[in-house]
């Protein structure tokens, strides 16, 4: 049998479903499919608990939308809901722009080793768990032994218990988010910046453009698409990723400004055993997330150059 026929037969066989090769291939993906079926798909219908009276003992009876009525009339639910969106808002306002500014500024540094050192140090915290990041800041801000308060006392001030001032919490948390993510977030913008044609800058200088004009007319348009794509993508997971930091940073004193939907679900569900109420909150949250994902998909199709879909 010559080479050409073997190859041809291989490709022809791929059209049939149950050849020996295909069975092997299907076997190879059995484990992932099974794991996804068990851990992702089996829990999906579990959301009907949101419409039941369901306790530690299990299903009792159907209650229609009563669970939702109950949560919508709970003060603590709306408090968690509000806090969640405050963090999202602070995120877009302060956390999202920070790596862009970082990238623009560090891009101006011509001393290689300096640039590299700054980048290496500022990227590391991204890989450290929020438990450690939270712990670092709790210790740094501690009223008795924290460095910031040591400095305040050293200069004759009175110590501030930062972590128990509820009003300060969104600001402190935002600062920590920037501290953790700024270096890593900048990587993608730096890649986009390095893709800008240097001739554009040379031409601009000849035309007498100063640095600010160069940034405004060349640099920013050059990374505009990257910024847009990242913002659009971020809509698909706005409410995610807050559980770990809040779980570490939350304390009874700042609770009123730090409780979010995820920690609220954990408290009433896992700790208090009100499975039906917690599931209702979870379902409400995933409906918002799903809506935002479709919205992000719509924006992505509309505004990315190649009209790409994220679904």
């Amino acid at each position: 049998m010559d080479t050409a026929t073997t190859v041809k037969r291989y490709h022809k066989n791929q059209k049939k479903i149950l050849t020996k090769t295909n069975i092997m291939l299907y076997l190879m993906i059995t484990v992932p499919l099974l794991l996804y079926y068990v851990f992702k798909y089996i829990p999906m219908p579990g959301v009907i608990i949101a419409f039941q009276q369901y306790s530690l003992a299990g299903f009792k009876y159907w209650v229609g939308t009563n669970n939702f009525k109950a949560i919508f009339s709970t003060y603590f639910f709306w408090e968690a809901f509000r806090n969640n969106w405050v963090f999202v808002g602070f995120g877009y306002f302060f956390v999202t722009p920070s790596p862009i500014i970082f990238a623009l500024l560090i891009n101006e540094i011509r001393v290689r080793w300096y640039k590299k050192t700054v980048q290496t140090i500022s990227t590391l915290p991204n890989f450290v768990t929020w438990v450690v990041i939270g712990g670092l800041f709790i210790q740094l801000l501690s009223p008795s032994t924290g460095y910031i308060n040591l400095l305040i006392r050293f200069f004759g001030g009175t110590p501030i218990f930062f972590m128990s001032r509820a009003a300060l919490f969104p600001w402190l948390f935002t600062f920590m988010r920037i501290w953790k993510g700024v270096g890593y977030g900048a990587i993608i913008y730096l890649a986009a910046l390095s893709g800008i044609d240097p001739q554009l800058y040379e031409a601009a200088v000849i035309d007498g453009a100063n640095k600010l004009r160069q940034v405004w007319h060349i640099t920013l348009p050059g990374i505009r698409n990257t910024i847009l794509v990242l913002i659009v993508l971020s809509f698909s997971h706005v409410l995610k990723g807050f559980f770990e930091p809040i779980f570490v940073l939350k304390n009874p004193m700042n609770r009123s400004r730090s409780e979010i939907l995820d920690t609220y679900i954990y408290t009433i569900g896992i700790l208090q055993g009100k499975f039906n109420i917690a599931t209702a909150v979870g379902l409400f949250k995933s409906l918002i997330s799903m809506f935002l994902l479709f919205f992000a998909n719509f924006l992505s199709k509309r505004f990315t150059e190649d009209g790409r879909s994220i679904l």
Partner: protein, 299 residues
């Protein structure tokens, strides 16, 4: 190179200084906690130096000798090793099937593994009830098995498989190799770069296991290191204070002059938790591009 104006020179100087201050701010929390972990504070002094006054490794010794602390550490090591290796194996093999564009059901698999789970999810409580029904409470399986397969990792690996020249696999098939052989002998060895990238990201993820351990691990013997660390950060109870004083006495130090804080112990734990990350960091840096791709879609 273009000539720089005076204005630019001034800007550059300020930029350099600015980044120096920025880097110090980045390092301050870490350096301060490192100092806390190495210092036996002397009671009643106001010391703003970041260099330990009475350096001691006592907190690190406590981490090694206290069972309630080193057991969570070993648990995390175990989860990281088992989780990372099994996840690499499962995803690398599964990705090969996904890389066959013409295979019947390929599209369905992508929907099943990536798109539908992105849209719908059971949420915390239904997943918890499932784990309870499976008997996974207080079992490490709860922390490893659900995270073993990942659609996003498989997509990344699949894309890499696509970049391997087809002629290599073809020539093996001509020699009569079965699909398994083609995969294990030709594709897998060539995919080392992407697999090591995934191993690093999965490894960091398993090492940082926290949320699922909080939910599913009730027995303190089954805690992961971050869970124990959080406990230490939040609960600095009398019990610990007593243990600290005993420790001082056994070292021949006067508990009235020196005091060991529970903060020192959690500081040492934080440093220990960061060490593996710092060790793999140079390798991680090589694979940032892959990580960003996963991160930006998965979130």
């Amino acid at each position: 190179m273009l000539k720089r104006s005076t204005g630019e020179k001034v800007f550059n100087v300020f930029n350099l200084i600015g980044f120096f201050v920025f880097t110090c701010l980045m390092l301050l929390p870490i350096v301060f906690v490192l100092k806390q972990s190495l210092d036996i504070a002397i009671a009643g002094t106001l010391n703003i130096s970041l260099i330990p006054k009475s350096p001691s490794l006592v907190f690190y010794k406590m981490v090694i000798t206290e069972e309630s602390v080193y057991r969570p550490f070993l648990n995390s090591v175990y989860i990281t090793i088992v989780g990372t290796s099994s996840s690499i194996l499962v995803n690398a093999i599964g990705a090969y099937t996904l890389s066959k564009r013409e295979l019947a059901g390929n599209k369905f698999m992508i929907y099943f593994l990536v798109i539908i789970p992105m849209l719908f999810g059971g949420g915390l409580i239904p997943t918890y009830l499932l784990m309870r029904a499976l008997g996974f409470i207080d079992r490490f399986a709860a922390l490893i098995v659900p995270g073993m397969a990942s659609g996003w990792y498989m997509i990344l690996i699949r894309n890499y498989y696509w970049s391997i020249p087809n002629s290599l696999a073809e020539s093996a098939r001509i020699d009569g190799a079965e699909e398994f052989t083609v995969f294990f002998r030709i594709i897998l060895p060539l995919a080392k770069p992407v697999l090591s990238a995934i191993a690093l990201f999965a490894g960091v993820g398993f090492w940082n296991t926290f949320m699922s351990a909080i939910i599913y691990m009730r027995d303190p013997k089954k805690y992961t290191f971050p869970v124990k660390l959080r406990e230490m950060i939040l609960l600095q109870n009398d019990n610990d204070q007593q243990r600290m004083e005993d420790m001082l006495q056994s070292m021949g130090l006067d508990p009235n002059k020196f005091f060991l804080t529970a903060e020192g112990l959690s500081a040492a734990m934080m440093i220990i938790s960061m060490i593996p990350i710092i060790l793999v960091y140079p390798y991680l840096q090589k694979h940032f591009a892959a990580g960003i791709m996963v991160g930006s879609i998965k979130g």
